[in-house]
Symmetry: C2
């Protein structure tokens, strides 16, 4: 007897061939949403989640009641505010974002470029802060965006300072090409990572879109561990990597200081503002 | 025969007395986390979610694999980056935040106060943007924070412009008191809402903490509907409500313009930055 399971949701368990659990089905509904799929009809959710229409309907109703999803005037569903509220509790998101915010903003104003603060999640980088220049956005760069590490400045820094096993895992995985300049050769990438470790900065040109240059530096926690990376993306013709490196290094140190309770300025009893 | 169900999670279905569904249990695990409970042990999750330890363990493992939760070095769980990624897809979060960001930042720099951008969710207000003055934070004001409408500037504005049924629902619900100045009398609150509608601005003193004054204005979408509220919180001795109102009104108009595709400046082919 052949049991044909419903299409499996991505649960992060590669190679897991069991039919989805009840929790897996809930997560599959959430997985149906993405940057290209921000608003979905019930049947689109059902199809993308690999669930029958009645199952999708039941789960969507529960998620709607809880606030994980919202329904617009046209009956399409999108991600709800309850998830925004929950995500603000993510320690790697919130504390970092708060410590980095004024410095990222300064960087953005001084350089006119897009500023990203990225952390590693598995073999990818996720932006926990992203400040975009209004006049230019050929590439999505938003909070929550997830990119392969080898194509982003923040990713190159995080990869260079990751444990060797993780580096090998990435170097041995298929490396996606976005432009003719994207480094997808493992040996070349290994050399690039060596350079990042040696100089403490990643400079890369045209890895995702041709006209862009990114400069990125590590952000350390008070124990000296690399916990995030900070980058500025500017148009190639405006790029002054040495100047950007100096600005980024200064910002990174300020963020580390802001993360260190011992180095925080005491709160004045009569706050100066 | 009496069936004793497990403690019910909050699903938004008030009065629902059925035992939790599988989806409800997943959501109960997520509900266990909150501003005062950012990192939880497995047994704390089990207790707070009202689930048996084996059930909590199984669900936590699934949520961990998917990225909704993360585990720290001490074995405590917290909200994971996958939820940050998902929440960035919330249309009422992202689009508004992006349109508002530069204007909220300007307001913060000019006034030195905390700036909030709030939207209504049910009978509460949720901050989709929050910029805090570094020297002062007696009150949490973070992205994702959720407050009763009657005590916040943004909430008063959103309530004043909400449909009458919703206003009655709030006015007839228990109104929490935070300070001796908090308006908790329905008649007084009704008068306050009238005033907000008449003047287009909410000014409130000491509703959450005594020394604070908040000034808030509505933010309209291109169709003229109130979709959010923008506020500045400053110390009472620094408060110049008329000046703050002028600044907020200007910022609110700029945000509305940024939300209107028809009024956006054309993207230059050679971007000026």
């Amino acid at each position: 007897m052949t049991v044909v399971p419903e299409l499996e949701p991505t649960t992060g368990d590669a190679g897991d061939r069991r039919p989805p659990t009840a929790a897996g089905k809930v997560l599959a509904v959430l997985d149906a949403f993405g940057p290209q799929h921000r608003a979905l009809s019930l049947s689109e959710i059902s199809r993308r989640a690999g669930l029958t229409l009645p199952t999708a309907h039941r789960l969507v109703r529960e998620l709607l009641g809880w606030g994980a999803l919202e329904r617009d005037d046209e009956g399409r569903y999108s991600v709800g505010l309850r998830l925004l509220e929950l995500s603000a509790l993510a320690p790697r998101g919130l504390e970092l974002r708060e410590a980095a915010f004024p410095h990222a903003q300064d960087l953005h104003q001084i350089t006119g470029g897009n500023v990203h603060l990225g952390v590693r999640d598995g073999i990818e980088v996720v932006y926990v802060e992203a400040i975009r220049a209004r006049a230019r956005n050929p590439v999505s760069s938003r909070v929550g965006d997830r990119w392969p590490m080898h194509v982003t400045g923040t990713g190159l820094v995080l990869l260079a300072f990751a444990e060797p096993e993780l580096q090998e895992q990435v170097l041995n995985s298929p490396l996606e090409r976005f432009t003719p300049l994207t480094v997808v050769d493992p040996t070349a990438l290994r050399g690039k990572l060596d350079q990042v470790r040696r100089t403490g900065v990643a400079v890369a040109r045209g890895q995702i879109t041709l006209p862009d240059v990114v400069v990125a530096v590590p952000v350390h926690n008070p124990r000296g561990e690399v916990i995030a990376a900070l980058s500025v993306v500017v148009a190639a013709e405006d790029a002054r990597p040495r100047e950007l490196t100096a600005l980024l290094t200064q910002a990174s140190r300020s963020i580390s200081r802001a993360l260190d309770p011992a180095q925080r300025l005491p709160t004045p009893s009569s706050p100066q503002r």
